[in-house]
């Protein structure tokens, strides 16, 4: 039962994708299989979370090969929370894609690729083996490349090439880092590596050097400060259902790997890593939010905000106290939901008005008051206004920062929050409040069908908004779970004992 529960978050998307391949020509059947898979995935991830919450860290050895030799699957609270968030997001994206994505793209294997992308997310989160993690990142990279390039319009191909080139480089760094780690320590099992780096005979300088390879690799993948330029250049090109999922999940998966490795393995030289992370976090936040402030396109503003929010997650890792890590975890969960939702909202607006440019949009508040409320919830969550979810994440991070007297990074993060509010109000003013600029009425005729579809597109947005409201207004269980997860991350003995069964 134990083994089954850990495998299910991977098996369900895998089988969903295989069945979708069998129904290659029947998009309806693929949609049905997809929705079924999403529902099952959601249930399975909830079961996994409850199981891990009750019984502590769960492990499974693939093929019954014992721990340092075979591939281990590990489900602790952090990974099961990631998996569950990815399942919720996947559900919303699926519901959105049915009406929100053009038929041509749907017939060219969109649904199987999306399911394999989710398989990759589950794989990265649940694996306990360094090389296996690399393989899952490759799965993510390939799926993302296919999804960004799907349809083959000119801007899409341009974005896809940028995305692929830079991420290829990141994979190279990752592989080099893995090679170096294996050369120094002779193991790839995360738990055994954690044991080995803590023994006195290990070489701390070499291990820190290997850690920098991982920092660069995951830094590119999760778009931290000097390495983020590919993200705003590629994320706004594909259709909204695709870019929403990629934007919501992918960078956070890189962040997950960074937090996992730098709490478990590369902890030997914290005199170097912690100041480095602090500087990177500060610059990531500031540069991201300034980039967003200068943009005039709905999606580009949101793309730059991804970068800015990554800074907060890195800030938790930089402060390196249990509360700060808990803040990071909460922030990742919150940010996946909110960012996906904002992208989906921009998609709903564009579905109705045919553009993402702020100048040409307007008057949505009068036409779609319900959508405006949903945007209000998500945008103010992103900015961190008290009753909503972003506030709790930022509050935990700021409190952790004050506790260890890191005032500068906390002040930077609070200032960045203010500028975040500025860009959110910019979107609000331009898209929702401003009067719609006069355009040729024949240019954008809204048929009854569009109208009906548009109403259906509200469903996934409302679903995500419900979850955002839940983790904001009823933050207690999520926050305490994030704190438990942070405890598990900070006490590496728990992880090591669970895997190596000492």
């Amino acid at each position: 039962m134990n083994h089954l529960l850990i495998m299910l978050p991977m098996l369900i998307p895998l089988y969903g994708a295989i069945l979708s391949l069998f129904f290659w020509r029947y998009v309806r059947a693929q949609q049905l299989i997809g929705i079924l898979a999403q529902v099952c995935l959601l249930i399975a991830t909830f079961l996994l979370l409850f199981d891990v919450n009750d019984n502590g860290i769960r492990t499974s050895q693939i093929g019954s090969w014992p721990a340092p030799f075979g591939i281990t699957l590990v489900a602790d609270l952090f990974s099961s929370m990631m998996v569950i968030t990815s399942a919720i997001t996947g559900m919303a994206i699926y519901l959105f894609s049915i009406k929100g994505l053009d038929k041509a793209r749907q017939t060219f294997g969109y649904y199987p690729v999306l399911l394999i992308l989710q398989l990759g997310v589950s794989g990265v989160c649940l694996t306990g083996d360094l090389f296996n993690m690399f393989v899952w990142f490759e799965v993510l990279l390939i799926c993302c490349f296919v999804l960004i390039a799907l349809g083959g319009t000119k801007p899409q191909l341009e974005g896809a090439i940028k995305y692929l080139t830079i991420n290829f480089l990141a994979s190279g760094f990752l592989l080099t880092g893995i090679g170096v780690v294996y050369g120094i320590l002779g193991s790839l099992n995360l738990a055994e590596l954690a044991v080995l780096v803590r023994t006195p005979v290990s070489h701390p300088a070499l291990i820190t050097m290997a850690g920098m390879f991982f920092l660069i690799a995951f830094g590119i993948k999760s778009a931290i400060f000097p390495l983020f330029f590919w993200l705003p250049a590629s994320y706004h090109t594909p259709p909204i259902a695709i870019s929403a999922f990629i934007a919501g999940i992918l960078t956070k998966v890189g962040m997950y790997a960074l937090i996992r490795l730098f709490t478990l393995i590369f902890v030997t030289d914290q005199g170097l890593t912690i100041p480095l992370f602090t500087v990177l976090a500060g610059f990531t936040m500031v540069v991201g939010v300034l980039g967003a402030a200068s943009q005039n396109d709905f999606r580009k503003i949101l793309s730059f905000h991804i970068v800015s929010q990554i800074g907060y997650m890195l800030m938790g890792l930089a402060l390196f106290t249990p509360l700060a890590i808990a803040g990071s975890i909460y922030f990742i969960i919150h940010n996946i939901l909110v960012k996906t939702n904002l992208f989906l909202i921009s998609g709903v607006v564009a579905h109705r008005h045919g553009t993402f440019a702020l100048k040409k949009l307007g008057g949505v508040y009068l036409q779609q008051p319900f959508l405006s409320v949903l945007f209000f919830i998500s945008a103010f969550s992103l900015a961190g206004i008290p009753p909503f979810s972003g506030f709790w994440g930022k509050f935990m991070l700021a409190k952790a920062g004050f506790e260890i007297d890191s005032f500068i990074i906390v002040l930077v993060s609070l200032a960045v929050s203010l500028i975040t509010i500025f860009s959110m109000t910019k979107i609000w003013n331009e898209v929702f409040w401003k009067k719609k600029p006069e355009t040729d009425p024949l240019l954008n005729v809204i048929t009854k069908q569009t109208h009906r579809d548009n109403r259906l597109l509200h469903l996934p947005v409302a679903l995500l908004a419900m979850f955002i409201l839940f983790i904001g207004l009823y933050a207690e269980p999520v926050v305490s779970m994030a704190q438990l997860a942070a405890e598990q991350l900070m006490n590496s003995e728990l992880y090591i004992n669970a895997v190596l069964k000492k």
Partner: protein, 180 residues
Amino acid sequence: MKTVILATAIRILIPIFIIFSVYTLFRGHNHPGGGFIGGLIGAIAFVFHTMTHGPQQTVDTFLRLNLYGYPRQPNQSRSLYLMRMMRVNVWRRRKLARHPEIKQRMIRIEPIYIIATGLLLSATSGVVGLIAGQPFMHAFWTDFYIPVLGKPGTPILFDLGVYLLVIGVVLKITFVMSEE
């Protein structure tokens, strides 16, 4: 690239390639070989055939099955009809192929279905372990020994899945590239 030498040679080579690929597939558990390399060797046969005769001919020769027959009579029992159709399609194929008007339907095996079958086999070989309460991909072996194939067990299923997957992918790539 239609040359007589290649076209003649490939007719003899195709069975050799396929038999050798199956042999490589099954010896792979204890010796060098396995599903991936076996699949590649098997795919060479189809790649060569496509090179000499073009993709359409390859599909017609290997990946298509014409079923012949007539519609069921109103008072004919369903099982009797099925049996007759089976007999017709197994024994009388040559004769019926000369009458295109009674061709009823055509089963075409797309590479994508080969890929999907391969994936399904591989994934399912792992799930067997889960059903028995063991970890994913836990291997189960039978006790008896088959001369060429070795001991049958669930990892063979996995290799077979990889074999089909590789053949499917190479076929798909070949067809797409040769159509351009």
